[in-house]
């Protein structure tokens, strides 16, 4: 039965038993109340945030008679998403990691809601950079972000001090990162700097490193995109990693980590520096129990001639299987729940005040402007009395990031590109004799084959 099991499991997973599953999200809802199933509801353990979500849902329902919000704690899960999509049981609003939107758009798993969003008065004021990761090349928008950010360098202020470094003067370039990592490692025995390497995060972080070195992962040639990473910027970036790993021995022992692994280790005080967003503060504190939050520091992503960083946001999208009427309701919800609190200072203050009641919550983690810098300044001022994070430790990130160009993920099949680049990063971090030029040449050939197939 083994072979039957293989085919059965694969096929069951792929087909999702379509035809059997109740069609919950494709009912038109014409003339009757719409039940909008939305991801992003906080867990029951996060009481303050859950209360806030419920209040938000009540307010929305009061202002939008005929629409009922049904929240779920689910998030986008590659294991179940395809089956749920095929069975039309996926929620009407999904919350996906930053690495996924372009793949979902390319596979037509999500639908554009530009028309519905444009009905909002302030739609044109959105910062185009935060909508970009949720848009296709034709300019159609497929969702609404929340808390946009730019990648930076997260560091442990306590380890900095212990290593004899000034935590108020974090590194600004990669030569300093290398020197600081070496010092942290030598003085404290902890990993000075770590780089993610598995589950496509290796390729993802190599993209950030490449941007800071002035490179691109994909370049356009005669209207088509080809691999652009087999060039000096990525090579230099990998040589830096290789030197830190094998010459300086400052990257610790564990080289196969993803974001959760890294933040968990960071929260346990085992890591000096890593590339991450301000949102990792929330992760470290609320998920991985960072005891002394004052140890958390973040600065703008160090540079080596690129003056650029990778942008992104928490992303909420509408699956392709959702009916038109529900998609319109979903757009209303996303504007109400995500956009308005980031535009209207009064709403932002009210939400911050409610959240701050829970000492476990992280209120005031800085974000990039979802609209304009001026609008963001109003929001920041309004929530200031309720902020419970050590805002001064985010200052280097707030000061340095606006000077950098905010760049998006590679435009074509970013996830598949990362799949190809993960082994390159892993080779450099696990094989002393890794030949960077040969690795990049092979990855380039694989990537070009993949990109050609994607752009047929």
């Amino acid at each position: 039965m083994g072979y039957l099991a293989v085919a059965g499991v694969a096929a069951l997973a792929l087909t999702g038993c379509s035809g059997l599953a109740p069609s919950k999200s494709d009912d038109s809802g014409t003339g009757s109340a719409i039940v909008l199933r939305v991801q992003g509801m906080p867990a029951a353990t996060d009481k303050a945030a859950l209360e806030q979500f419920n209040r938000l849902a009540d307010d929305f329902e009061a202002k939008n008679p005929g629409i009922t919000i049904e929240g779920t704690e689910n998030r986008w899960d590659p294991l179940t998403f395809s089956a749920k999509l095929a069975g039309k049981t996926v929620e009407d609003v999904i919350q996906v990691p930053l690495t996924e939107p372009q793949g979902l758009i390319a596979r037509k798993h999500v639908q554009p809601i530009t028309g519905s969003l444009k009905a909002w008065n302030h739609y044109t004021e959105f910062n185009p950079q935060v909508l970009q990761p949720l848009s296709d090349s034709a300019g159609e928008v497929y969702g609404v972000p929340l808390a946009p950010f730019a990648q930076g360098l997260v560091y442990n202020r306590a380890l900095f001090t212990k290593a004899g470094l000034d935590p108020d003067k974090p590194p600004t370039n990669w030569d300093e990162v290398r020197a600081f990592a070496k010092q942290i490692s030598a003085k404290t025995g902890k990993a000075g700097f770590v780089h993610e390497a598995k589950g496509n995060t290796g390729g993802w972080q190599l993209t950030m490193l490449t941007y800071t070195h002035g490179g691109s992962m994909e370049t356009e040639q005669d209207g088509k995109f080809v691999a652009g990473f087999n060039s000096a910027p990525t090579k230099t970036a990998l040589e830096l990693l290789k030197a830190m790993r094998w010459t300086d021995n400052s990257m610790g022992q564990n080289q196969l980590m993803d974001q959760d692994d890294v933040v968990k280790q960071f929260a346990a005080g085992q890591i000096g520096m890593f590339m991450g967003t301000p949102g990792t503060y929330r992760l470290a504190k609320m998920k991985f129990g960072l005891k002394n939050t004052a140890d958390y520091g973040i600065t703008a992503l160090p540079q080596a001639g690129g003056n650029a960083t990778l942008g992104g946001a928490e992303v909420f999208m509408v699956p392709a299987s959702v009916s038109k009427e529900k998609a319109e309701a979903a757009a209303k919800w996303l504007l109400f729940a995500n956009a308005e609190p980031q535009y209207d200072p009064a709403i932002a203050a009210e939400r911050a005040q409610a959240l701050a009641k829970d000492p476990e919550a992280a209120v005031g983690v800085p974000t990039l402007p979802m609209f304009s810098v001026e609008q963001q300044a109003k929001i920041d001022a309004a929530i200031k009395p309720h902020v419970n994070v050590e805002l001064e430790h985010f200052q280097p990130w707030l000061d340095g990031t606006p000077k950098l160009e905010l760049r998006p993920e590679p435009p074509v099949a970013a996830q598949k590109l990362y799949t190809i680049l993960d082994p390159v990063v892993q080779s450099v971090l696990t094989k002393r004799e890794a030949d960077i030029s040969a690795l990049l040449a092979k990855a380039e050939a694989d990537a070009n084959k993949m990109l050609a197939a994607e752009q047929k």
């Binding site: 099991a5 085919a7 096929a11 792929l14 610790g252 022992q253 196969l256 082994p423 892993q426 080779s427």
Partner: protein
């Protein structure tokens, strides 16, 4: 006496052998009743086992995003999959896992069972201890071993450090990652197989050992000439099940390493997973699943032929 007894068989014959038409009706009725009882199981089996298999087969000839209507692409998915260099890597890694599993994981439960069969007192305690890893959920066991393998603070390196060895990059090195996965899988699966062997061993007649012993056979000759031949059908079955199971290895590489480092633990099922759930290439995932199913079916057929020839000898 003769007259009294003679008609009896005739009456009996008439009573138990109805006329052909009524016999057929009774047989049909019995079959219908059987089918009614079987129907729920058949329905569930059909819907959840055979229908997905057929859908999988169909999808292997299609390009689909599971939303728009599927497009028939013939053998294109098979062509794409069979020309993907990663498939070669995945096949090589899977065969390495299978080979290491046979070398390390296959003899281990036999040895364990042989040892346990010699224990006179407290056998039940040992059986429970041996079987315990089997009841630990696979994900929990793997996460536990992930900590054992941790290159910094892991239990194994801490323990080895006490005797001046290591630290070893268990999962961090392309050379040792697969071996590390096999060690965990062996630990996790050994208990079940050991109990099956133990049960089979207790079924071997004691006279065979006694006869061998009186012929002067030592422990190793008794194992070689008495125990192993008697266990041959069980060994054959468990070997086949292990081969089929290890060819389908997924959980270990997915949770331990996600195929790394440098694709050293990328197995066929993990690649199918990547095609389907990471890249959205459902047709290619189904195509590789079909190829794998064909290989495993062929393996099962070989086993059936072999066991048939064994039973004849």
């Amino acid at each position: 006496m003769t007259t009294l007894l003679a008609p009896a068989p005739q009456r009996d014959t008439v009573a138990v052998q109805p006329a052909p038409a009524s016999r057929r009706r009774a047989s049909l009725r019995r079959e219908l009743i059987g089918l009614v009882f079987l129907a729920p199981a058949l329905l569930v089996f059909g819907l959840f086992s055979w229908w997905p298999i057929l859908r999988g087969l169909l999808i292997s000839f299609q390009r689909t995003n599971l939303v728009d209507p599927a497009v028939w692409v013939g053998l294109e998915n098979f062509r794409a999959v069979l020309t993907d260099p990663l498939v070669g890597t995945a096949v090589g890694n899977t065969l390495l896992f299978v080979a290491l599993g046979v070398v390390i994981g296959f003899p281990a439960p036999i040895l364990l069972a042989a040892l346990m069969s010699t224990i006179r007192r407290g056998g039940a305690v040992y059986r429970v201890l041996v079987y315990l890893p089997v009841v630990v959920p696979p994900v929990v066991a793997i996460l536990l071993w992930k900590w054992f393998y941790d290159p910094g603070s892991g239990l194994f390196n801490q323990a080895l450090g006490l005797i001046g060895l290591g630290p070893y990059p268990w999962l961090q090195s392309p050379q040792s990652a697969m071996l590390s996965l096999v060690l965990e899988a062996t630990w996790a699966g050994m208990g079940g197989a050991a109990l099956i062997y133990l049960a089979a061993m207790t079924g071997i007649p004691a006279e065979l050992y006694e006869a061998a012993e009186s012929d002067g056979a030592g422990i190793w000759r008794r194992i070689w000439h008495v125990m192993l031949p008697q266990l041959r059908p069980v060994i054959g079955l468990l070997l086949l099940l292990q081969l089929i199971g290890t060819i389908q290895v997924f959980t270990e590489p997915y949770i331990f390493t996600q195929g790394g480092p440098d694709n050293a633990t990328l197995t066929i099922l993990l690649l199918i997973f990547r095609y389907g759930f990471q890249d959205g290439e459902y047709g290619q995932a189904a195509a590789l699943s079909v190829v794998l199913a064909i290989v495993l079916a062929a393996l099962s057929a070989v086993y059936l032929r072999l066991t048939r020839s064994w039973s004849k000898t």
